[in-house]
Amino acid sequence: MDVTTPAVASRFERATMDRPTIEQRVMRIIEEIVRDKLDGRVLSTSVPLTEIGMASVDMVNFLLQLEEEFGVQVPARLVTPANFGSVDAVVKVISGLMAPAAA
C-alpha cells in the first residue's frame, strides 16, 4: 500500500498529533462557534465553556466539528458536562480517543 495516499496520511497525522496541536484545533473550533458571544474576552483552556456562551445547540455543533476534525466518535459515556466543561477537559477526551490503545 502506498503510504502517501491521503487517507493513510490523514490517519498518520491524527495518530501522531501532540497535545498542543489538539488544543490549538479545539480552541479554533470553539472560537468560531462563539465568536459573536466572546465580546472581547480571551478564551483560556480552563474557562467553563458555558460561561463563554456555549448553549445546547453550540455543544451539538462542537461535538460534530470535533468528530470531523479528529476523525473520532465520542461515545455516549464520555459525553458528560464535565468532559465538555472546558478546553482542557475536551483535549483530554480527544487525546484519549486518539491514543493508539483507543484505536
Binding site: T50, A55, S56, V57, M59, V60, N61, V79, T80, F84
Partner: protein, 327 residues
C-alpha cells in the same frame, strides 16, 4: 429505556448552558433552526422543489412542493401530502423541515406540500389553522393547478404540526364534500395541559421540557382562556384513517397513543407504531439517531402502500402504557 444514540444526543444537549423556555421568540426560532440544521441529515435524493404562495380565503401562505425528479417530465396527477412542521407554534418553518419533506417525497414517490403557516406569539390561534385550511382548500378546489390527484390528498405533520393537521382534517371533512383521505402524525403533540403519564415521566431532560411546552401552548392560545385539544373534540368517526408514529421517551407519547385508541374505538383504521428508546421528533435528528432516517423511510413506504391500495389496515402497537386521567 433510552436508546444509546438518543442518550448521546441528550447528553451533548445538556452539556450546554441556557434555558430555552424563557427566551425571545426570535432566539427560539434561531435555536430550533440551528439544531435541526445541525442534527438533521441532508437528503440528497433527486427532488424537484417549487416555492409558491397560496392566495386563498383572505390569506397568503408560502408553500414548497417536493416531487421526485423521475416524475418531473410527466403531467400525471400525484398523490399529495400537505405537511405541517412542528416547532411549538413559535418556531419551525418550511426551511427547518426541508430535508424531512425531501426524504418523505423520495421514500413515497408522492408530492409533499410543506406549509409556511404564520407563527405565534405574533399570530396565535386560529392563524395557523386558517393558513392550513387555505392551502388544503386551494389544492382541493384546484388540484390540477397543484398537480394533485384529487382522490388522494392527505395531511401530515410532526409535533404540534400534527395537531394542526388533525384540526384541519376535522374542519374539512365535516364541512365540505371533498375529504382528506389520510392523516400522518409523527410524534403528535395535542395537549396544552398534561393529563398522561408520559408528560410527567419525560417532563425534564428529554429534549423538550415541560416549561417550554407550557410556554409554547400559551403562545398558541393568545388571548383565549384555552384552545380545545384534538383529543377532546368529538366526531372521531368522521376523521380519516391515520398513520401514527410515537417515540417511547417523548412527553407526548401517551397522547399520540390515546388519539390512536380513540380512532380505533370509532372504527377508523389506524396504524400506530411506538419507537423504543426514541425521543420527540427523533426523525429530525438522524445525524445522531439513525432510526430517524429509518422512520422517514417507513412512513414513505406506508404512503406508497396507501396510494396503491387506498386503504389502511388497523394495527396498534400497545407496548406503551396509557394512563388517561380522564378515564
Amino acid at each position: 429505556m433510552l436508546d444509546s444514540s438518543s442518550e448521546r444526543f441528550l447528553r451533548i444537549l445538556s452539556a450546554g448552558g441556557g434555558n430555552a423556555s424563557s427566551v425571545e421568540a426570535a432566539t427560539r426560532r434561531d435555536s430550533f433552526k440551528t439544531l435541526l440544521g445541525l442534527a438533521g441529515a441532508a437528503e440528497t435524493a433527486p427532488i424537484v422543489v417549487e416555492d409558491r404562495v397560496v392566495d386563498a380565503l383572505s390569506v397568503r401562505v408560502p408553500v414548497r412542493s417536493y416531487r421526485p425528479l423521475r416524475l418531473a417530465g410527466s403531467s400525471e396527477p400525484l398523490p399529495t401530502c400537505v405537511f405541517f412542521h412542528g416547532g411549538g407554534f413559535v418556531a419551525g418553518s418550511i426551511e427547518t423541515h426541508d430535508n424531512i419533506c425531501r426524504s418523505l417525497s423520495h421514500a413515497s414517490g408522492w408530492q409533499l406540500v410543506s406549509v409556511g403557516y404564520r407563527l405565534a406569539p405574533e399570530h396565535p390561534y386560529p392563524a395557523p389553522i386558517e393558513d392550513g385550511l387555505a392551502v388544503v382548500g386551494a389544492i382541493m378546489m384546484q388540484p390540477a393547478d397543484y398537480r394533485a390527484d384529487p382522490d388522494c390528498i392527505v395531511v401530515a405533520g410532526d409535533s404540534v404540526g400534527a395537531g394542526l393537521a388533525v384540526r384541519i382534517c376535522r374542519i374539512v371533512n365535516e364541512r365540505v364534500a371533498m375529504r382528506v383521505k389520510l392523516q400522518v402524525l409523527l410524534c403528535p403533540a395535542f395537549d396544552a395541559t398534561p393529563r398522561f403519564a408520559s408528560r410527567t415521566t419525560f417532563a425534564h431532560g428529554y429534549s423538550i421540557d415541560a416549561d417550554m411546552i407550557a410556554a409554547d401552548f400559551n403562545s398558541f392560545r393568545g388571548r383565549l382562556a384555552s384552545v380545545a385539544s384534538p383529543l377532546d373534540d368529538g366526531g372521531f368517526a368522521d376523521l380519516p384513517p391515520a398513520i401514527v408514529h410515537v417515540a417511547e421517551c417523548d412527553p407526548f407519547r401517551d397522547e399520540g397513543l390515546a388519539f390512536a385508541q380513540k380512532l380505533r374505538s370509532a372504527r377508523v383504521p389506524v396504524d400506530a407504531t411506538t419507537h423504543a428508546g426514541m425521543l420527540h421528533i427523533f426523525h429530525a435528528f438522524s445525524r445522531f439517531i439513525p432510526q430517524g432516517r429509518a422512520v422517514l423511510q417507513q412512513v414513505g413506504a406506508q404512503l406508497k402502500q396507501f396510494g396503491a391500495t387506498r386503504s389502511l389496515a388497523t394495527r396498534v402497537d400497545e407496548s406503551a402504557v396509557i394512563a388517561d386521567a380522564h378515564g
